[in-house]
């Protein structure tokens, strides 16, 4: 049954919608113009201030020799290398502690989150206690405490402790091998890693718990009705469905972990922010160095978001 076509809009209606479109265009122009004006004013005042003070600007300093040592890192680096290589070494250090932290906090957080559903009340209580304790204390304080504990209780550099003959523990860190250049985990790295993983694991535990709780009870009951033991129920039925709920907030926790690794500058771990800080002070190029920090962290955030979006799509339930 055909319905009668609506009458064409009257001239007044057409004029009104045209006015609305013009108004919208004007507001957008105003917003863009205001932001552009602000950006232009900021840039011109900054450049003028820098000219007035004789502060030099430009990224050419990146090719000058850095002149400072970096205490540890995977990237081979000497003090005669250029600044850009120093920044790269700092980035490698950030990734080193960031990736290790992500792995550690995921494992620990999943165990704690699943532990909240244990049959044993003590296990449930311990998991709850851990989450409440580590969530409510600032990360900087946790890192500083771990650093204090490590530097107090590790044996002095001149009298290291040996475990199994080849692990050497001293205030220089945990070295795997007796030689001078054997791979070492310094107290700074350990303090940052412990602080980051234990803190983020508390948040991951809450996310995993919420994900598991969101899976309908019927699934677990049906799985036990099929005769699956509870460990396999968790692994084969519950967790895959919980992943859908877990992955988006987990992504933001990973991003937070990478951003929080910038606190390493307070305990002396030479990550990107620490190297940028040193370069800023040696060259005086505050604007450039801080821009580099922000750009690198933005790129890292984007990278992790893209990766996790892919994981999210894989975890999504393929509905017909």
């Amino acid at each position: 049954m055909a319905i009668a076509p609506r009458p064409a809009p009257s001239r007044r209606a057409k004029a009104a919608s045209a006015r609305a479109r013009r108004r919208s265009a004007f507001y957008q122009l105003l917003a863009v113009a205001a932001v552009a004006l602000l950006a232009w004013w900021l840039a011109s005042t900054t450049l003028q201030n820098m000219r007035l003070r004789g502060i030099q600007s430009g990224f050419d300093f990146l090719w000058a020799p850095a002149g400072f040592e970096i205490g540890e890192g995977l990237l081979p680096y000497q003090s005669t290398d250029a600044y850009w290589r120093a920044f790269l070494a700092g980035l490698v250090n950030t990734l080193r502690v960031g990736v290790s932290g992500i792995v550690a906090c995921t494992v620990l957080g999943t165990a704690l989150g699943a532990g909240r559903f244990s049959a044993n009340a003590i296990v449930r209580g311990v998991c709850w206690g851990y989450v409440e304790l580590f969530r409510n204390i600032p990360l900087l304080l946790q890192m500083l405490t771990w650093y204090l504990v490590l530097t107090q209780f590790l044996p002095p550099i001149d009298e290291p402790a040996r475990i199994a003959g080849w692990i050497v523990m001293s205030k220089n860190g945990v070295a795997f091998g007796a030689g001078e250049d054997s791979p070492t985990l310094s107290p700074e790295f350990l303090a940052v890693l412990l602080g980051l993983s234990l803190y983020t694991a508390a948040f991951v535990a809450e996310i995993v718990r919420a994900g598991i709780a969101a899976v309908p009870r019927g699934q677990m009951e049906a799985a036990s009705a099929l005769g699956l033991p509870s460990r396999r129920v968790m692994r084969l039925v519950v967790l895959p469905q919980a992943l859908r709920i877990i992955v988006p907030p987990l992504t933001s926790q990973y991003l937070n972990l990478i951003k929080n690794s910038s606190l390493a500058v307070a305990v002396g771990y030479p990550d990107l922010v620490s190297i940028a800080n040193t370069s800023l002070n040696q060259t005086g190029r505050a604007v450039e160095c801080i821009t580099i920090i922000m750009a690198v962290y933005l790129a890292l955030s984007l990278l992790i978001s893209v990766l996790m979006n892919r994981v999210n799509r894989g975890a999504a339930i393929k509905e017909r």
């Binding site: 003070r53 004789g54 550099i157 307070a266």
Partner: protein, 343 residues
Amino acid sequence: MSKAMARRRWIAVASACAFLALSAHAGKTLEAIKARGQLVCGVSSGVAGFSQANSAGQWSGLDVDICRALAASILGDAQKVKWVPLVSQQRFAALQSGEIDILSRNTTWTLTRDASLGLTFVGIDFYDGQAFMVPAKSKLKSARQLKNATICVQSGTTTEKNLSDFSRANKLNLKTVVFEQFEAANAAYFSGRCQAYTTDASALASVRSKEAKHPADHVVLPELISKEPLGPAVRRGDDEFFAIARWVLFGLMEAEEYGITQANVATLRESKDPVIGRLLGTTEDMGKPLGLDRQWLARALQATGNYGEIFERNVGPKSPLGLPRGMNNLWSHGGLHYAPPVR
């Protein structure tokens, strides 16, 4: 376009013009100080002997006394100073931005700092060098014995670069642990995390006297691995204030050379010696070219004494730091301080 929209456009344009006008105006430091009635002096947050506040908030030290002398010259009262404690990372930014008038914070004079940071050094008030401090029980006698050692340093200073140059030149393969904060670096050294601590020799003396539980347990190794001429700095572009600060410093040294002390300023006013007459403003007005009155140096000397007295009081052999005059003596006594004449 409607009246409201047109009005909004004009307001935006007018405020942009106002901001531009403000940014074209460059401040004159001397006028600002006189208008404010206070000299804003950037100092460190606590280096014994150079700038330190006691629990009542009273500041003392060599850098502090230089600022006091400057305040006495310009404003007539050595107490009219606002002290801004700065950590090393912020010190240049604070000076560049106008937050402080002068940076008197045991800062080393280097080419990079003079040429590319928008500031300029007034002179040298303390000749120093970088040295190492080690625990006495390590039985080290020389810095060249520090092979493969772990050294604590603070970031944002000339110390890092000097350390790596020294390490490379002597093939020591030193490992550095870099801390953001001075106090964190100290704490790490005293907890045993590092085998040595390095910074300017004067700062090492200060740390040892103030922060070590038993100062005798720590030893400063004899090598000075770099030149660290420390001095106050002001912003570029204000030659008037630069000249005043420079000549107050030189005046304090000249006064020591000619025997004018805090105690005898009053009596020496009667002196017939032409040099003393120039310095104290009794015979000639040396303040006029600087934009000050003729008593400018006399007031400074009455407030703080001459350079030698400032040194003795804050860092000299009888002070807790116990540093010898050494390089910091006048040229006529074998040291490096040679002030151009006040004439």
